[in-house]
Amino acid sequence: MTHLRKHLVVVGHGMVGHRFVQAAIERGLTETHDITVIGEERLPAYDRVALTSFFEVGADALSLLPEGSYDDPRVRLLTGIEVTDLDTTARSVTLAGGEVLAYDVCVLATGAAPFVPPVPGHDLPGCFVYRTIDDLEAIREAAATAKVGAVIGGGLLGLEAANALAQLGLETHVVEMAPRLMAVQVDDAGGAMLRRHIEKLGLTIHAGAMTKGVVEADGRAAGLTLADRDEPVPAEVVVFSAGIRPRDALARTAGLEVAERGGVLVDEQCRTSDPHVYAIGECAAPAGKMYGLVAPGYAMAEVVADALLAGPGTFTGADMSTKLKLMGVDVASFGDAFATTPDSLELTYSDAVTGVYKKLVISDDGTRLLGGILVGDASAYGILRPMAASGLPLPANPEELILPASSGSSVDVGLPDEAVICSCNNVTKAEITDRVARDDDPCADAACVTACSKAGATCGSCKPLVKKIVEDWFTSVGRTVDTSMCEHFAMTRAELYDLVAVHGHTRFDDVVAAHGRGRGCEICKPAIASILASLLNHHVLDDDAFALQDTNDRYLANIQKNGSYSVVPRIPGGEVTPEGLIVIGEVARDYGLYTKITGGQRIDLFGARMEDLPAIWTRLVDAGFESGHAYGKSLRTVKSCVGSTWCRFGVQDSTSMAIALELRYRGLRSPHKLKGGVSGCARECAEARGKDFGVIATEKGWNLYVGGNGGAVPAHAQLLASDLDDETLVRYVDRFLMYYIRTADRLQRTSTWVDSLDGGLERVREVVVDDVLSLGSELEAAMARHVGTYFDEWRATLEDPAKLARFTSFVNAPDVPDPHITFDTQRDQIVPATSTGPVLVAASIPVGAPVGGAR
């Protein structure tokens, strides 16, 4: 008997194609099948839903397959290649280069293409669609020399595109044929509220307007003519976003059945009219209906993976609920949002001042929630959507669900087990409780549940609900969550911080004697060192603190893989004089250091031996440099662009602000490293929204974003406050950082800290901006104390012989270089040589020296 492996061809590598391949690998389909995935775009699958953030985060951050290939060697990914033919008789596909691939099973995931209405001039230079990273790059290039842009289509994607144009600094118009924005998701009242929000941001909305044609000037797009309007709308960049059409051409030419309104007809297992071909995502039309959202596509991907393993999964329609944040405005729509159910009732709440509109659609007997619309505040979405989807009985006073009182979110709803909590990944409440309740390898917290079940991993809107379900379960079984930092301290870092502050402890020994047990470890010692440093701002190398520090703080430098260190002088704002540059160059040359410009606008000098650090720093300090704190859990850099001083687009002096902020917070010890950024205009060249605190200049002042970071789990900073003057900006950053330092967990980044707070960003805003805890002046005073007591750690070290004595290679041979540290050369600079084992130092080196450490 032969065991021939089968060949599975996936046409299309978008979000859904990628999800299918992932599901196939996870479920073991590659045990029996080789998979070839063919993507037409040059990049592997990326997060198209977050396309607009491409300008801020770049293509790498959006990629769903950053490595560019699958871990499973049985999966082959081809990108930048079109599939030109599908032959269902021969069971083969033909690639653009002529290669023919035979298949046993073919899965079409070709997605959809933007619909461009055939108006005159639609193909002029300057006209674009909004679908791929290449589209966005082309739009960005065109926007560089343009002032005004227009988007045709005021739906979900159109508004995303308009946001992108506005971000690129263009005066932006939106032309929508329907009388309101986002006509598919929201009703007239919601659309009107949304329009007010968007107009406040400076965009111009033309609703109920039909585009007649694109005006041409010098062979390029110059504007739009609208029916029933005399004046054309000026626009040098025109983006068509008037809906999408399934890309079903391959299926049509292959003779597969297609739906009346486009899309490959498929059955409940997503099988096309040919039993060996499946179609999933936007190119498919289950029961004749095409779904333009990613969640149904994901569901179809799972169904096909299941079907190929002879599983029972079927696709019988999808929840079309949506929640998104458009230009900072929450918009959500779920269930029967337009009250199409006979005799259904509508309950609305509208507040023009705060710009909030909420509507609930309720069954005629008032017992069940059918759907709803939320504009301006969608915080209740997490609980309302599953409530509508599960048909759960409404509480006695359903208006409490949408009234602005805090009661709304605290309404205790006992969701049934089958309620789908995460619609992006189709995770039910039962699956979430199973993750924490199972005997075998249970999750200990909500973050683990998200990692294991994917609940909350895509759009994140259900995260608060996931957390609540997890906590409710722990409470129901009478278990308290273990928040011990380590075996020595049975408390969280925040609790310990308060204890140290209240008792006024200044030494680890006192802290562990009063509140802990044992002698500490590599977890609690650096944490307490950081707490003491935040509170006291003493020297990290003082006798009481030295042994608590991680190695980087211990030698005020960054340890590298061969035991050598790197040296980073502070260069605030990245601004350095030629004389300063020359000194850095000379130091690097004289000590043979590898030199690299960092991502944070610094110069990093690698390969320094520990015993050379004092001499290196003597020269840097003499030249006016100070420690850059690149080694600590502390403020690293505040990145900046050149701002209004040099840049023709800059509206504020971002360099001066970045320098002021970096000098203010330098040396500040924190639970995790901190970075800031200041951009001089909305072009955001400093990438400030990738920073823990990001400042972006506006015509009126500064917008403050918080909670961004790079790292393994990148996060975007979110807008905390707008149009601040210099003084208010600094006050808010002071409060934000101190609030974080006081209450975050050890090694918890600001992004996860914000998420962990009850109320999330809104809670940060209450404390920092609204000062509801009356903590503001206390937090500011703590920061003022830090600023007032700042000193340069390296200068102080050089002035203290006891501290300097620690910078020796060997206690009994202080000037013998450690022979383990050896280098090779690459591109004319040193790199660490690979170590293979302990080295025996040559016999000529004196050992067994007299007591006292002399040579």
Partner: protein, 130 residues
């Protein structure tokens, strides 16, 4: 200064011991590196005044860095965590607490009249790949 302590590792010393430094040169709950017989040795002092000596070479990261690790306790076990990737080693036996198949070499060590003396390897460690 606490009274001189005998290291936790007791063994018949046949080789010569080498005087390395004064005990107060080793920070409490810290370490220093020393050259002994051509080898890089890490010398640690725990809170209770005991002195330990191990190879300075971290078998996980292949760098000579153990003396720069954080010294702490797990239950009653005094240990040092590698400054590279935080693997913990029992200071008395050299055994890696995270993976018992990996071991730091441990050297005989005595404190006599406030002077730290280091002797030969009493527990072989792993130098090369793990």
């Amino acid at each position: 200064m606490s009274s001189p302590q005998v290291g936790a590792v007791a063994a018949d010393v046949t080789g010569e011991m080498v005087a390395v430094c004064r005990v107060e040169q080793v920070p409490v709950e810290g370490g220093v590196a020393a050259l002994v017989g051509g080898r890089a040795i890490a010398i640690f002092r725990t809170f209770d005044g005991n002195v330990h000596a191990t190879s300075n070479y971290d078998p996980w990261s292949h760098a000579s860095v153990m003396s720069r690790g954080i010294v702490g306790s797990r239950g009653d076990v005094p240990y040092v965590a590698s400054p590279m990737h935080k693997q913990a080693f029992d200071l008395r036996s050299g055994t890696c607490l995270d993976d018992e198949t990996v071991r730091l070499a441990v050297h005989d060590v005595r404190v006599v009249d406030g002077v730290v003396w280091v002797g030969e390897e009493v527990t072989a460690g792993q130098g090369g790949c793990v």
